[in-house]
């Protein structure tokens, strides 16, 4: 007999290891989307129990209570209560606890119990707890709580076997009508009473060792040292950016030569003409020039995911809180801003952890100034074409140093903009509180990291396959039509629509040193920044004719002055060249006005920065 699909929901406090349990249960069978009407990420996965039940499991946003202080926490509350629109009420709630830290989860569980949903308490990371000498009387805990309790080790193979068996056992005898929901928001005194009750149960069922986690304490002695901690943070960021540049290089060259070979193959096999030009210049060189950057994007996400899993991100927020406070930013803004180095879209979405509206708005407005991974293709291309790959002071790669400088300029500008926003627009401002759990350090879970990187890489490739591909087709079309009249001596592209558009825009961009080819590339670059690289590739490939197989970087080095190249770099630090980011700002702020404001201020900054850079460079003789 076919069993009906069982709906599970994972609930737990932040840092409870909920997500690693989710990954352990579902592997890569995950679907990431948004809840209808809100921009909270909805993660659903699927698995089959030993008895053959099909299970859908939703990883709900972490929360300390059901009060619903933020959009994320409201989702968790409504989902469990069965009030979330378009969602199935979960058949079974898995309340996930970090076994080394039961206090807050047990209180959450006591609150969850009032909803009347069938529930299991999962004592996750049980191996770490045992190693630290924490022993839990599981049977007694289950009896005191009135909820089945199971231990799990999400990071170990087979570590969820007991949980799976219990899920089967419980779902076989789920009552058709669950218990009544008696939940309502807790008052302060009820909250206090619940915590007392939780503490009593824990002291009855759990024996804690006298020694704390010495490893975390030892690492924190350095990492949270008022001065040493900031040095460590700066070192981590520096290594991260050097790695993005240096480690990715061999792989990128490999990918590049792969695409070149493919282009040559097409060139050799197909007869000269439109189809050959479309495949070689439009599709292969266009999409290829973006996919080449996959290694760098993987490396930056690797760092961010590792630091997050290790437990360092909360420490970074702690270290940066007052320093960012000087610029009018909340310590919690550090994580969204750091995520924005990968991509402003998840960064802006991550601002939801900031519960103060003004703090959140400021963070959203400056997040696009953080150097996202889509700028990497543009930066890399220009840097490798114009900046010599020599070492300065013996050990620092000059190209890496310029890259670091570009990142640093983005950060400094973001802080300056934030300061100005606070100073001029939000003056009557009382600092919102900063309250954050600093979790014990944990060894990053390789499988979780791998799944995280896989998901991001897939998103990037999907973008390359859809948005970027269609933009490339458009660019190729604009650059190829109309075809030159018979007997024309100039390059074919001079007769095309692209040249007409580019030349119309040229007067506007001439003061910053941009030629019409750049103007053409900037337009599709609005869809996604990295498209500009591909577009330049296509424009110059079509223009270059026979030498089309030549690398785009070498072409640029001959066509642009150093001043133009530097001006382009300055432009890309600031320019609002990303339609998806603007769309997310519109969605997250609920206002077209803020979206327009972001677009306008970034455009003004970009133009001013390029104008300055170009003129200074020309004056210094780089024109």
């Amino acid at each position: 007999m076919e069993l009906p699909l069982l709906h599970l929901a994972l609930v737990g406090t932040p840092n409870s290891g909920k997500t690693s349990l989710f990954n352990a249960l579902t592997g890569s069978r995950q679907k990431v989307a948004n809840y209808p009407g809100v921009t909270v990420e909805r993660k659903e996965g699927f698995f089959v129990t030993p008895q053959g039940r099909q299970v859908s499991v939703v990883d709900l946003p972490g929360t300390y209570s059901l009060r619903g202080r933020s959009p994320d926490e409201e989702i968790t509350r409504d989902f469990v209560l069965g009030k979330a629109s378009g969602e199935t009420v979960p058949d079974l709630v898995l309340c996930v606890a970090d076994s080394t830290n039961l206090r807050l989860t047990i209180r959450l569980l006591l609150e969850l119990k009032r909803t009347g949903r069938p529930m299991i308490l999962v004592l996750n990371m049980f191996d770490i707890a045992s190693r630290r000498g924490i022993s839990v009387d599981v049977e007694r805990l289950a009896k005191e709580l009135g909820v089945p309790v199971v231990t799990s080790i999400a990071v170990r193979k087979g570590g969820t076997a007991d949980l799976l068996a219990l899920t089967d056992e419980i779902s076989a005898k789920l009552a058709a009508e669950p218990a009544e929901n008696t939940w309502r928001a807790l008052s302060v005194s009820e909250l206090r009473a619940t915590q007392r009750e939780a503490d009593r149960i824990i002291s009855d069922c759990v024996s804690l060792p006298s020694r704390p986690d010495t490893w975390t304490a030892r690492v924190d002695a350095i990492v949270l040292h008022p001065v040493g901690g900031l040095i460590v943070l700066a070192l981590i960021l520096f290594v991260m950016f050097q790695a993005v540049f240096a480690w990715a290089q061999p792989l990128m060259e490999l990918l590049q030569s792969g695409f070149d070979a493919l282009g040559d193959l097409v060139h050799a096999t197909l007869p000269d003409g439109l189809v050959q030009s479309f495949l070689q210049n439009g599709v292969i060189s266009g999409v290829g020039s973006v996919i080449v950057f996959l290694p760098q994007i993987i490396i930056i996400f690797l760092f961010i995911l590792l630091l997050e899993d290790f437990g360092y991100m909360a420490r970074a927020a702690f270290l940066m809180d007052r320093i960012m406070g000087g610029a009018g930013l909340h310590g919690r803004a550090f994580i969204p801003l750091l995520s924005s180095f990968a991509c402003a879209i998840p960064g802006i979405m991550a601002t939801r952890v900031i519960d103060n509206k003004r703090d959140r708005l400021t963070t959203i407005l400056i997040a696009p100034l953080m150097t996202c991974s889509a700028r990497i293709p543009v930066y890399t291309l220009i840097i490798s074409a114009f900046i010599p790959a020599k070492d300065v002071w013996g050990f620092i790669n000059l190209q890496g140093l310029v890259m670091f400088g570009l990142y640093a300029t983005g950060i400094v500008s973001a802080l300056a903009v934030s300061f100005l926003i606070k100073f001029f627009m939000l003056r009557d401002y009382a600092p919102a509180p900063f309250m954050l759990e600093l979790p014990d350090y944990k060894m990053p879970r390789l499988k979780s990291i791998a799944i995280g990187i896989f998901t991001r890489a897939k998103m990037f490739l999907q973008r390359a396959g859809t948005t970027i591909f269609s933009m490339m087709v458009l660019i190729w079309f604009l650059a190829s039509f109309p075809q030159p009249p018979a007997g024309a001596t100039e390059p074919a592209i001079d007769f095309s629509l692209a040249a007409i558009i580019g030349k119309a825009l040229e007067p506007l961009l001439a003061p910053v040193g941009f030629n019409w080819q750049i103007a053409v590339a900037l337009i599709p670059g609005m869809a996604a920044r990295e498209v500009a690289v591909a577009a330049l590739g296509t424009v110059y490939a079509i223009e270059g004719g026979k030498e089309a197989a030549e690398q785009i970087g070498q072409v640029l080095a001959t066509k642009w002055s150093l001043a133009t190249a530097l001006s382009m770099l300055a432009w890309y630090i600031f320019a609002p060249q990303c339609a998806s980011t603007l769309a997310v700002i519109r969605r997250e702020t609920g206002s077209w006005g803020w979206m327009a404001a972001t677009f306008a201020y970034m455009l003004v900054l970009a133009y001013a920065a390029s104008l300055l850079t170009y003129n200074v460079a020309v004056a210094l003789g780089a024109g």
């Binding site: 300390y64 209570s65 009060r67 080394t100 830290n101 206090r103 807050l104 209180r107 302060v188 909250l191 206090r192 915590q195 007392r196 503490d199 804690l208 704390p212 975390t216 304490a217 924190d220 949270l224 040292h225 008022p226 001065v227 900031l230 909360a314 927020a317 702690f318 270290l319 809180d321 007052r322 320093i323 406070g325 000087g326 310590g331 103060n356 009382a430 600092p431 919102a432 509180p433 900063f434 309250m435 954050l436 759990e437 600093l438 979790p439 014990d440």
Partner: protein, 91 residues
């Protein structure tokens, strides 16, 4: 267990030095001057484990204005600003 602390003077955790250890006596949100309402601040502190009788220790503090502070509350570590820690009365 609180007997040893009865003789110590009560003070807000927000004024304590790095390395201070003590036991939470009560919460008093109205004196903290936080941007949050009293009820909200008190609820959040309780949700993070700051309840009467919990042992606290200030483990670390920030560079600027010795703020924020990292507080060990029983067996977890919470980062708070001194302004909010003023609501936690310890001895």
């Amino acid at each position: 267990m609180t007997n040893t602390h009865d003789t110590r003077r009560e003070m807000p955790l927000g004024l304590a030095q790095c390395g201070y250890t003590g036991v939470i006596q009560h919460l008093s949100a109205k004196d903290a001057g936080s941007a949050l309402s009293d009820i909200e601040l008190e609820s959040r502190l309780i949700e993070l484990g700051f309840v009467e009788g919990a042992r606290v220790e200030i483990l670390h503090e920030g560079l600027v204005g010795r703020d924020p502070i990292a507080v060990r509350v029983d067996n977890i570590t919470i980062a708070v600003r001194r302004r909010e820690a003023m609501a936690i009365i310890v001895a």
